[in-house]
């Protein structure tokens, strides 16, 4: 009688041992329910965050990097850098022993070196580069950051030293090189593809030095990656990363609940309450690096009168907008960039909500029975979840001070095109999410004289402000820059080219078994450093 019992006990023990060994050995796979399909796997051609999540943030590294979950810059593929006293030369000392991915379609024979850096930037910069026209030759992110004007030359000093020669000093240069368009590619792989007569493959079957290597993509369905075993920062804690493409936010939530994925972006505001109560889910939140605003056309009467703009700003009940449009997921904005960006001037006092004072100020400015248009964006954005609703609320606020508002809207591309026209009729609702954690990314891009007729939707060119921003761009001393930007914010508030509305809060639900996921301040999804329980 004892023998069978022992046998059963031994069998059970062995089974348990085997099961636990299997559990120990089982690869860890993290599933991310992404919101859409990437346009491609080469980030230099695109500007969409969905594409960057699938390419630059998983597969590639840059010379400098943003510390995970922060806006702090740290060394990437460059161990360190020197800046010449005149700010015109940046010398990068590259990291040694960095391996490119080894995949069924490419086996590197050498480590990362200066040739890869030169290839990466010259492809975008030099119109005669053999790869410049491959894939269409449109490098809009590189172009819109003024890189073609800024970069004079890129020189390989030796195998592990590269020098960038600039045409003018550019204080945010190191931050620019941490952006997605600056992802570093393998020159060796590019040569191989060119020699094989298949240069297009270079962009479709990516090779990088990043934490995850590309395995397969089934269009509009699944992207598969595996951890780069020789990653220079150390192999990722998870073995496999899978993007399950799930466009509908309600379905993403159902998948998260069912355990079919571990992390999801862009939850429905209506689901947030249920997510916060769900014991299987952690609802993470962070202030976004963005601002939503209403830009007057300051080149047209009566909006060329600062008193009118200030009066209208006083008529807007921002708190009501925050409650109704952002549903609590936002904070009132008083400056043209969010408080999470350095040099934010908290001493600036926002225009108070005071309809009576606004009405009086309009009368004092000689404005009576004003009729104006407000443009409502046709799309949802993190900085403005419902522009139509926001426009209706401002319409009602302005009606109280005797201003009649007509709300207009256009298809998105048309909206973007028409809203930048200098003689545009009406005030435009729009916003901005930072590319880099630098005030220049807001003040220069959106409010400088150079941007009039383009990203400067207020068509606002005010010399005292513009001089400060231009000066701050070329000064490398951070305390000096801070002083200049703080001063610029005071002028901005006095001149009121925008009614600043809100800085939104980003929510990200993850399952409880996910360890150390951090919300990216730039709105991306980064999985290196994340583990599963």
């Amino acid at each position: 009688m004892r023998k069978p019992k022992n046998l059963i006990a031994a069998f059970c023990g062995a089974t348990l041992l085997l099961a636990s060994m299997q559990a120990m050995a089982a690869p860890k796979t993290l599933v991310f329910c992404s919101e859409g399909s990437p346009e491609g796997f080469n980030p230099v051609f695109y500007t969409a965050g969905t594409t960057f999540d699938a390419s630059s943030r998983a597969i590639f590294d840059k010379l400098s990097a943003f510390k995970r979950g922060t806006t702090e810059i740290e060394p990437g593929l460059a161990e360190k850098w020197d800046i010449s006293p005149d700010g015109l030369e940046y010398t990068f000392h590259l990291r040694k022993g960095v391996k490119f991915h080894t995949t069924p379609y490419f086996t590197p024979t050498r480590d990362f070196n200066a040739d890869d850096v030169v290839f990466t930037f010259m492809r975008q910069f030099d119109k005669n580069h053999p790869y410049h026209k491959v894939g269409g030759g449109k490098y809009e992110y590189f172009n819109s950051n003024s890189m073609p004007d800024l970069i004079k030359n890129i020189v390989k000093v030796d195998d592990y030293t590269v020098k960038f020669v600039l045409s003018r000093p550019e204080a945010p240069m190191i931050a620019h090189l941490a952006m997605d368009f600056a992802s570093i590619f393998s020159a060796e792989y590019a040569d191989k593809m060119m020699k094989a007569g298949t240069p297009d493959k270079f962009d479709f079957e990516p090779i990088g030095t990043g934490p995850f290597q590309y395995v397969a993509y089934q269009k509009d369905a699944v992207i598969r990656y595996q951890a780069h075993p020789n990653y220079w920062r150390g192999k990722a804690a998870i073995d496999n990363l899978v993007f399950a493409i799930t466009p509908d936010p309600s379905v993403r939530y159902q998948k998260l609940k069912a355990g079919e994925c571990h992390v999801m972006p862009y939850p429905n505001p209506a689901d947030l309450e249920a997510m916060a109560k769900d014991p299987a889910i952690t609802l993470m939140k962070k202030e976004g690096l963005n601002v939503g605003y209403l830009a007057y056309n300051t080149s047209i009467a009566p909006f060329d009168n600062v008193k009118v703009r200030k009066a209208l700003n006083m008529a807007i009940n921002k708190q009501a907008i925050l409650d109704a449009v952002y549903q609590g997921a936002g904070k009132i904005a008083k400056n043209p960039f969010p408080p999470t960006i350095w040099s934010y001037n908290d001493d600036v006092v926002d225009d108070p909500y005071d309809p009576a004072a606004a009405k009086k100020a309009l009368t004092d400015a000689g404005v009576k029975d004003l009729k104006m248009k407000i443009w409502a964006m046709p799309v949802q954005r993190p900085y403005n979840p419902n522009a139509r609703r926001m426009a209706e609320m401002i319409q009602s606020d302005f009606a109280q001070v005797g201003v009649t508002v007509e709300i207009v809207s256009y298809e998105w591309a048309e909206y973007l095109k028409r809203s930048k026209e200098k003689d545009r009729d009406g005030a435009v609702l729009l916003g901005w999410t930072a590319d880099i954690p630098d005030p220049d990314n807001f003040l220069n891009v959106l409010l400088s004289c150079d941007a009039v007729g383009n990203a400067n939707r207020a068509q606002w060119c005010y010399k005292p402000f513009d001089d400060l921003v231009k000066k701050a761009k070329v000064v490398s001393d951070i305390s000096e820059r801070t002083k200049l930007y703080k001063e610029a914010q005071v002028i901005f508030k006095e001149q009121a080219p925008w009614a600043t509305i809100a800085n939104s809060i980003v929510f990200q639900p993850v399952r409880k078994e996910v360890v150390d996921f951090r919300i990216d301040p730039f709105g991306g999804n980064v999985f290196y450093g994340v583990d599963l329980k």
Binding site: V31, S37, Q218, A221, A244, Q254, L416, A455
Partner: protein
């Protein structure tokens, strides 16, 4: 029969040509352009905008662009997506099997349940069953696909946990597509459990997509059967002493099927339209979602090529339906 086929084909060819024109003009009449969308909030200078439009060939007069497009088409070239840089035909053929698989299963469900429901409702006119079928059909027909899909997901996947939420197969299974049809590929992969996973993923989207055609088929079958059942030859058949199964199954159904087949043919177009929403809800990688994305991105070549290919397929299906009429009822091909 061959002459009948030729006659039908002659009608189809100019229609196909018309579709190329409509597809081409349609996307260009929409406001906005791909270059502006590419730039986003950041914007771009007017000079750069003009330069990029010229590089893509969108600066030429529309007739010239159309001529270039027709020349490309004549060579079997459907163009290259300006977003993904992949040939449109390659993208279409990669995604099309998913839509076909889903649509076929939806149509099977619709026919399998719709035909008998309509027949029984007709033979029991005025009964509780008849009223139930017609009420259910009206409800099914009026149901917004988006809402219906979410409702089924929440109930069957969220609450009961019987079916997966979305996708085509569990992420545990990984195999390269051979045919593009997941049911076949999962079998070919030889991985245990892959086929049943593919089936379980297909159930909810097929029900959602099949609901409207099911309702239409049930209603059409009922009304066609009622009409045929009152015909003289049916009365004669009954008078001859034939059993009800023989009268309905052999004599009535054959003639009642003509309008029903017409409706089934027309439902192919409805299925493609419904697939756009169903594919979005169930994260089903088919051409419906691909087309919508392409329209939003103003990806002119993808939209043109996609519309053309879809129209060609719908036309071919309708041609086949026309031929089927001829086979079922030879009178049609003689009088047509």
């Amino acid at each position: 029969m061959f002459v009948y086929f030729l006659k039908k084909l002659i009608v189809v060819l100019p229609t196909f040509f018309g579709v190329t024109l409509v597809a081409f003009v349609f996307i260009r009449t929409l406001p906005g352009d791909p270059v502006m969308l590419m730039a986003g909030e950041r914007g771009m200078s007017e000079e750069r905008h003009v330069e990029l439009m010229a590089e893509m060939g969108f600066d030429k007069p529309i007739l010239v662009q159309y001529g270039v497009y027709l020349k490309q088409l004549a060579g079997g070239n459907f163009g290259t997506s300006i977003i993904t840089k992949q040939p449109v035909l390659k993208e279409f053929t990669a995604l099309f099997p998913a839509t076909v698989e889903l649509s076929l299963c939806a149509m099977l469900i619709a026919v399998f349940f719709g035909l008998p429901a309509g027949m029984i409702a007709a033979t029991r006119r005025g009964s509780a069953f008849d009223h139930s079928v017609m009420t259910a059909a009206l409800t099914g027909y009026s149901m917004p696909i988006f809402w219906w899909g979410l409702l089924l997901i929440i109930f069957f996947s969220g609450i009961l946990g019987w079916t997966p939420v979305s996708g085509r197969v569990s992420l545990l299974y990984f195999f390269e597509p051979v045919t593009g049809f997941m049911l076949i590929d999962s079998l070919l992969s030889g991985q245990a459990g892959a086929f049943s996973s593919a089936v379980s993923h297909l159930i909810l989207p097929a029900i959602v997509l099949g609901t409207i055609p099911l309702a239409v088929i049930a209603r059409q079958t009922r009304s066609a059967m009622l009409e045929v059942l009152s015909e003289d030859y049916v009365r004669t058949a009954r008078a001859k002493g034939l059993g009800p199964m023989r009268v309905i199954g052999l004599h009535a159904l054959r003639n009642a099927m003509i309008p029903v087949i017409t409706v089934i043919g027309l439902q192919v177009g409805v299925l493609f339209a419904g697939a756009i929403l169903t594919e979005t809800i169930f994260s089903w990688p088919g051409i419906g979602k691909w087309m919508v994305d392409s329209i939003f991105r103003r990806d002119y070549p993808a939209v043109q090529g996609g519309l053309l290919l879809i129209a060609a397929i719908v036309m071919i299906v309708n041609l086949v339906v026309d031929l089927l009429y001829g086979l079922i009822n030879p009178q049609i091909r003689h009088t047509d």
